[in-house]
Amino acid sequence: MAKQYDVLFRLLLIGDSGVGKTCLLCRFTDNEFHSSHISTIGVDFKMKTIEVDGIKVRIQIWDTAGQERYQTITKQYYRRAQGIFLVYDISSERSYQHIMKWVSDVDEYAPEGVQKILIGNKADEEQKRQVGREQGQQLAKEYGMDFYETSACTNLNIKESFTRLTELVLQAHRKELDGVRTRASNEMALAELEEDESKPEGPANSSKTCWC
């Protein structure tokens, strides 16, 4: 089997109900956008392999339901995430204010060193804007996060923000990354990697290629 990727990790999308988490993901993985969409129940799963810095990264993306009633379920997914998108809707002041709550959930449930990025989605809805760009920037700065205004509808900053979070996660794991890189340039090691892949690639036994 040909090697499909060098490393694997998990990203998580969180934020209020209806801010467009599923739409962001659909745009990223399938390049599709639908203005009417069906609400997420619990957690959905998608994946995509992208190349960052010469490394093929397979990302598993967990798309969570924003509704409060599902939060017992969705919080179970924080633990294994390496990167988290915190999403609000620029046309909803309320969803912006709730970022505070989402951040504190992350602090509580996600592993230390998890990478975060703030997303103000629906940037195409300028006429309905309730949250200024500066407000987003300011909040991101406060929490030490990168910030993007995105639009799944017009495909604004989608690839950029996913790539950025991927880079951040890669950087945060630079040590392990160097190992992968060295081995990737070495044919013997490459074969070893392929062998790894024929085994289950769940989190427990993939310590070489996945940081969980």
Partner: protein, 496 residues
Amino acid sequence: MAAENSKQFWKRSAKLPGSIQPVYGAQHPPLDPRLTKNFIKERSKVNAIPLKNKKASSFHEFARNTSDAWDIGDDEEEDFSSPSFQTLNSKVALATAAQVLENHSKLRLKPERSQSTTSDVPASYKVIKSSSDAQLSRNSSDTCLRNTLHKQQSLPLRPIIPLVARISDQNASGAPPMTVREKTRLEKFRQLLSSHNTDLDELRKCSWPGVPREVRPVTWRLLSGYLPANTERRKLTLQRKREEYFGFIEQYYDSRNEEHHQDTYRQIHIDIPRTNPLIPLFQQPLVQEIFERILFIWAIRHPASGEDLWTFFTFCFTEEDVENFDVTNLSQDMLRSIEADSFWCMSKLLDGIQDNYTFAQPGIQKKVKALEELVSRIDEQVHNHFRRYEVEYLQFAFRWMNNLLMRELPLRCTIRLWDTYQSEPEGFSHFHLYVCAAFLIKWRKEILDEEDFQGLLMLLQNLPTIHWGNEEIGLLLAEAYRLKYMFADAPNHYRR
């Protein structure tokens, strides 16, 4: 032999390739007609390569394959041998159909949106589908160049509800004429329902293998315990309950914008439009208002729960009352009756599964756990396969429990499923577990073929049920019944 049948059926089922696939039930609502054009190009690029082996996994495939959900047998020659026509000779039937269509076309306001989608049957006799369906077919033909599709622009948009109503009668084999057996069954139902005191045990027995569409609304009202078995008491009961419901509305609904209810109402308001985007009926403002009221009242009297269940239930009731469907054509009275009856019947049903929807959803967690235990007993290989690749049952079965498989099955199948759930003691709260187990095992081959976590998750969150009809549900229920019989009364049998 059933096993033989099911084997054949599974051959037909598409296996999902390991690539990224759309998630049915989550990411694939219908296209917005205003946006459609712009996206066709992109989509065709996306779809161009994997199309051949993508079997039924893209949204358009899904859409095309579920087009029969709106109009059974639309692509088949047997089109007019469907139950409603079976007693007529075909000429009369066709003539009548044409006339009905003509009448509909006069009623419809937006004929420009309409389209015909097939060529097998003379176009002028073709029944048109819902607007979303029309769009979807258009896309699918653009994307996939499906040569059997033939566009025709002159037909009126067909009312949605009668079509939706018919889907429940669909047979997987393509809507054959009503058999003698089916006729006898319908007679039996009519007899039971019209007797002075409906024998509910007998009604349950008859309903277990499926309720004929014609009598479904009244049967469901009876099975849920809402409508009294005694015919004399029915009218008064209905009147009283309907008044009581609208009493709630008067009492509470104005408070929806007050602070303590604001969150509840806001969430409902967000959720309604995206509950059933595939069904245009639910995009009608009047219908959305009904749901907002029903859900709001229920939510403030109970903890909030899955809207999917509500919308589904309500429109099943509309079948009875609506022949030419356009909600705005319905009398105020009729709409009010449907609204109130839906509220009460669904409340009764949800009472039985309330711990699914209380804080932390303990009922669901428990049921997912029970499913895991059950599967570990009945199919160790599948169970170990999940363990090996670290797939957790919660990752796929949460939605199965939360939405009673509604998101995993075509609507027509859910309707059929609920016929049985309502006739089975503790159907929703208990029997559903066995149905889920049977459902999972149905896919054992596909599951065992997947050899990584991603592949498994993609499969399990997008099980290809789009071709399913009564036949498959019948088999599924039979298997579930067998499992229940073997394990339900012998808890140690499946508890490790």
